[in-house]
């Protein structure tokens, strides 16, 4: 396969960026999207040029490190798939693709397709934790959690924090990410201690990082590689006004 790429190249956070055209030759349909870029980069390095910078780690779709826009959609056109698990067989020979970094005030571009997602870490630090007693580990079965509750909490906990939700949202809102963390902990007995302050502090931090508000369009859910549901945002909103009324 031959793939035509238009890639956003930006030397640094303050540098002026622009698109540069590349052609990936001899692409195997078995390659992942990132492997295809690896091959392009090897060619660039051989020619003494700077490789295209992109984030990746596990390449199994579970760590949340990779992610960029593939022709206007975060992680590309395949639903419930990170770009590392997106395979070239999903494309046709001769396809022209545009690769851009996530764009958001909260995610400044560091280089090429890499953005700084530490804003998500700071949202977690604001309240995405639980207080536990230290000492000997408690028996795992000592805390009873119903199966449905455990499943619902796991559905929210499945968020890998890749930032595709922010990237897809017209308001660059981090509501899906933040709400998934809030919902996950609000469902479980371990999360009850900080339940009220958690939602207030995490939302406050989310706003401070420059993310927009949620317009309930659900573009985020549609692009989320883990299929995190918009109902998490409804839960966050409910938790929020309940916390205000009881504070």
């Amino acid at each position: 396969m031959k793939i035509h790429l238009k890639v956003w190249r930006q030397a640094g956070p303050t540098a002026h960026g622009q698109f540069v055209n590349y052609t990936a030759e001899n692409v195997s349909p078995h390659m992942s999207f990132l492997e295809m870029l690896d091959v392009v980069n090897e060619g660039l390095i051989r020619k003494g040029q700077e490789a295209i910078a992109f984030d990746s780690d596990c390449r199994e779709g579970i760590c949340g490190t990779c992610g960029f826009m593939v022709s206007g959609i975060p992680h590309g056109p395949e639903p419930h798939t990170t770009v590392c698990q997106l395979h070239m067989r999903k494309f046709k020979d001769g396809d022209a693709l545009t690769l851009e970094p996530w764009r958001s005030k909260g995610f400044p571009v560091l280089r090429d397709l890499i953005v700084d997602r530490s804003a998500f870490d700071r949202i977690i630090q604001a309240g995405g934790y639980t207080s536990v007693n230290t000492g000997g580990a408690q028996d795992a079965n000592a805390i009873l959690i119903g199966r449905d509750t455990a499943e619902a909490a796991m559905d929210s906990a499945a968020c890998i924090g890749c930032g595709a939700c922010v990237a897809a949202c017209k308001n660059a809102s981090a509501a899906l990410f933040t709400s998934a963390k809030i919902t996950h902990l609000s469902l479980l007995p371990q999360g009850q201690v900080e339940r009220g302050t958690r939602v207030l502090n995490m939302v406050e931090r989310m706003d401070m990082e420059g993310f927009g508000s949620c317009s309930n369009e659900g573009e985020c859910e549609a692009v989320c590689p883990k299929g995190i549901s918009l109902r998490n945002i409804a839960t966050m909103n409910r938790e929020y006004w309940k916390a205000i009324l009881s504070s």
Partner: protein, 225 residues
Amino acid sequence: MRALRMLSSSVGTKVILAFTGLSLFGFLLVHLYGNLLAFLGPATYNEHAHALISNPLIIPAEIGLLALFLIHVFKATANYLNNRGARPDGYRMKKWAGGASRKSVGSSTMIWTGLATLLFVAVHLKTFKYGAVYTSVGAGGTEERDLYRLFVEVFQQPVWVISYVVSMILVGLHLRHGISSSMQSLGIMPDTRTALVLRTGLVLAVVIAGLFAILPVVVFFGLVR
């Protein structure tokens, strides 16, 4: 103080928008009821209007309605500007995601259909509430405002009919996203009946905007006179 600061947050703003929006939607239903009385003739229509105008609670109710309206407009505009600031450098290429997305023409144009509604309401109040005052004698022998006569006069003019129908299409687009979206913003969207709420919101938007829009048309064609 803490609560006030919280309500200026992104989530608090959306809760306020949803609450005021739903309240205004409730007003629309009451308004629509009054409009539909036109089909029962001038007497019923004017009697209803007179009952409202002569009620001592009408002034506090109007002040409350105005407050809801202004809060909704102000918060929505501030929210829109803030959201635009969240992506200062836009995408060179961006597509709708499809799939589970609820994005629609309505959801994408809320600020514009909202501002159009604001303009419409100003003109609408000028035309009717503060328009020509005709009087007639009601059923009880008391003199009351003949709003029906004004209503028929206005909608005999094609320019008014067209502008009202267009305005109602814009209001309908606003409701198409607003009704179901407010359930989500308030966090009362049921987990297992989301599709039903979304569909109900769409149907209500079409029916309500349609019923509002049909009155000028029937008057124009002389079906109600």
